[in-house]
């Protein structure tokens, strides 16, 4: 079966010339259709950068130095810009991190959902608005017609995130990149949002790359997971397996450093600094090798 997403040896650098620094150091990753994979890492791990690279939304000072990204067998990096753009939002969708800034503050919700449908599916204005209402109903928003007429600041953060989820699934994508979609939310709202993502994923049959720093969230929604640190994949596998018997010391350390409501305080073990230092020196060694010879 052709994987929904296939990434091989991806190296991304930020900056130019002598100050160029690697943020992704040869990442390989495979996502089967319908699979939900957690991409776990702390800040600076490059997890968001990976999602952005797939979407072609790298910041202006970042560049792909090496590697391959294929979506359903088609090379995204070799693709011409218009073709690639026609995939974005339709076949490959994004659930962004910040529900506050990801919606246009001066346009009504309805207009923002409808424009997506009209652009990608060439729906008529009427049909688009009707479909938009259905989509909002699908993410458990009551009175969707009324909400379509509201502005983003008039609804709560949890609601905004639901609207963004509805928009992500609007065109039946086969790949959804979820970039820390619940980080800004309260736990009770987070749970509902996770439930929604799972429900929509099942209904639309999309593969999801779920970027997060929260091992708990991964445990609940992702069947497989990839642990990233300093732009390198340290461990991957079935979530149940990785969490129960972590193979890499870093994964073990992260689990021990995560405070748990079901365990007493004494169980908390911070990540040993020497471990992090070792990981960084490994990463820098990779940089030297990459600089010495072309990857």
């Amino acid at each position: 079966m052709t994987p929904a997403l296939f990434i091989q040896g991806l190296r991304v650098t930020i900056g130019a010339g002598t100050s160029a620094a690697n943020v992704l150091r040869g990442v390989s990753l495979e996502l089967q259709p319908g699979e939900v994979r957690g991409l776990v890492g702390e800040s600076g791990a490059g997890k968001s950068m990976l999602g952005r690279a797939v979407l072609g939304l790298l910041p202006a000072n970042a560049a792909i130095a090496a590697g391959r990204i294929a979506f359903e067998g088609r090379d995204l990096l070799a693709m011409r810009e218009p073709e690639r753009r026609s995939l974005l939002g339709r076949r490959i969708a994004l659930i962004p991190q910040d529900p506050m800034t990801s919606l246009n503050p001066v346009k009504r919700i309805g207009a923002q959902v409808a424009i997506l449908l009209r652009h990608h599916l060439a729906s008529s204005r009427r049909a688009a608005l009707q479909r938009a209402a259905e989509l909002l109903a699908e993410v458990a928003i009551r009175e969707p017609e009324r909400v379509l007429g509201l502005y983003p600041h008039e609804i709560s953060g949890g609601m905004r995130q639901r609207v963004l989820i509805a928009m992500a699934f609007a065109c039946d994508p086969s790949l959804v990149i979820a970039d820390e979609p619940t980080t800004a939310l309260d736990v009770t709202v987070q749970r509902q949002v996770l439930q929604l993502v799972e429900r929509l994923r099942q209904r639309h049959g999309a593969a999801v790359l779920f970027v997060t720093h929260d091992l708990g969230v991964v445990a609940k929604i992702c069947r497989t997971m990839t642990v990233l640190h300093a732009g390198r994949v340290l461990e991957e596998g079935e979530t149940a397996h990785v969490l129960a018997r972590p193979g890499h010391p870093y994964t073990r350390a992260l689990l021990a450093a995560t405070p748990r409501a079901d365990r007493p305080a004494e169980a908390l073990r911070p990540v040993p600094p020497s471990l992090i230092e070792n990981l960084w020196s490994e990463a820098h060694q990779f940089d030297r090798l990459a600089a010495a010879g072309p990857a």
């Binding site: 702390e42 800040s43 506050m100 009551r142 009175e143 909400v147 600041h153 008039e154 609804i155 709560s156 953060g157 949890g158 609601m159 800004a184 309260d186 736990v187 009770t188 709202v189 987070q190 749970r191 509902q192 996770l194 439930q195 799972e198 720093h213 929260d214 091992l215 708990g216 969230v217 991964v218 445990a219 609940k220 929604i221 979530t239 149940a240 969490l243 129960a244 350390a253 992260l254 689990l255 450093a257 995560t258 405070p259 748990r260 409501a261 079901d262 365990r263 007493p264 305080a265 908390l268 073990r269 911070p270 990540v271 992090i276």
Partner: protein, 285 residues
């Protein structure tokens, strides 16, 4: 009888809010009749989601805000009605660590100045030499290299900045510290270090803390007692072990069950809890 350092009685706070240009301002109550008693040397966790009023409550306790009604007794002294000037001598005993050290450390001052500013204000600095010594001692106390004296806040990582924020709060050797969401912006590995640092400092310096957080699991690491806040009211209040083992209030149970533990648990996503999210935005996220 236990020695209570801080006690609040029916503490309330309302923001005046204008409903319209010509309407009379309608007060919006964000903290409602809160009764707390913090024994000397203990840590109280204040837990709530956004809009629960936990940050406002924290700012009331250090008297950054003046309560609309109710009282706060600090070491037997009623401080709820004191003016800014009357509060000033007490400031050396009541401190606060802020959520976002990016914003709470003055971006244009070096760490050496920031950390010793409290000492300067209370006349406890004896010249330039002393300032450097004191700053170095404070940096050392929170596990930062003394070479950081001449650094600016933006030259530090998030965890380092939060350590600096803790050091500043400790400068005056206060009895009581309010820590407002101090680990929420940090990575897991950094967060554990900060939590354990605070635990160690508490034991070493005999601090009394109010630890504000949205995260029940973090609270468990540090706190003796927990108060659960919901829409400005304390819905449950008790020893941490009891709250975690036998939560009484439905909201506490909801909060506990919503925490995703890092264990695979089929069905966690199906078990839809009947939480109603209001359509309209109630308060800032």
């Amino acid at each position: 009888m236990t020695d209570i350092l801080l006690r609040t009685g029916s503490l309330s706070f309302a923001y005046p809010e204008r409903a319209g240009l010509f309407r009379r301002p309608v007060p919006r109550e964000v903290v409602k009749r809160v009764d707390l008693a913090v024994p000397r040397g203990s840590v109280l966790g204040l837990v709530g989601e956004s809009g629960s009023g936990k940050t406002t409550l924290g700012r009331l306790l250090v008297r950054l805000l003046k309560p609309t009604s109710g009282g706060i007794q600090f070491d037997g002294v009623e401080i709820s009605r004191l003016s800014e000037a009357e509060m000033r001598p007490l400031r050396s005993r009541i401190q606060m660590i802020f959520q976002d050290p990016q914003s709470s450390l003055n971006p244009r001052l070096r760490l050496g100045i920031i950390l010793t500013r409290p000492l300067q204000v209370h006349g406890r600095l004896k010249g330039r030499r002393d300032r450097r010594d004191q700053a170095a001692a404070l940096l050392d106390l929170v596990g930062l290299p003394t070479g950081f004296i001449d650094r600016y806040p933006h030259e530090l990582s998030g965890g380092q900045r939060q350590r600096a924020g803790i050091a500043r709060a400790l400068a005056l050797e206060p009895d009581f510290i309010v820590a407002d969401e101090i680990v929420s912006g940090l990575d897991v590995s950094t967060q554990a270090h900060i939590l354990l640092l605070l635990r160690e400092l508490r034991a070493r310096l005999g601090l009394t803390l109010v630890f504000i957080s949205h995260d029940l699991s973090v609270v468990r690491v540090l706190c003796d007692d927990v108060a659960i806040l919901h829409r400005g009211e304390v819905v449950e209040y008790g020893p941490v072990t009891r709250i975690f083992s036998a939560p009484q209030h439905a909201y506490t149970r909801q909060l506990l069950s919503a925490i995703p533990l890092p264990d695979v648990e089929p069905g966690w996503l199906d078990d839809a809890s009947p939480i109603v999210i209001p359509h309209q935005q109630g308060s800032a996220a």
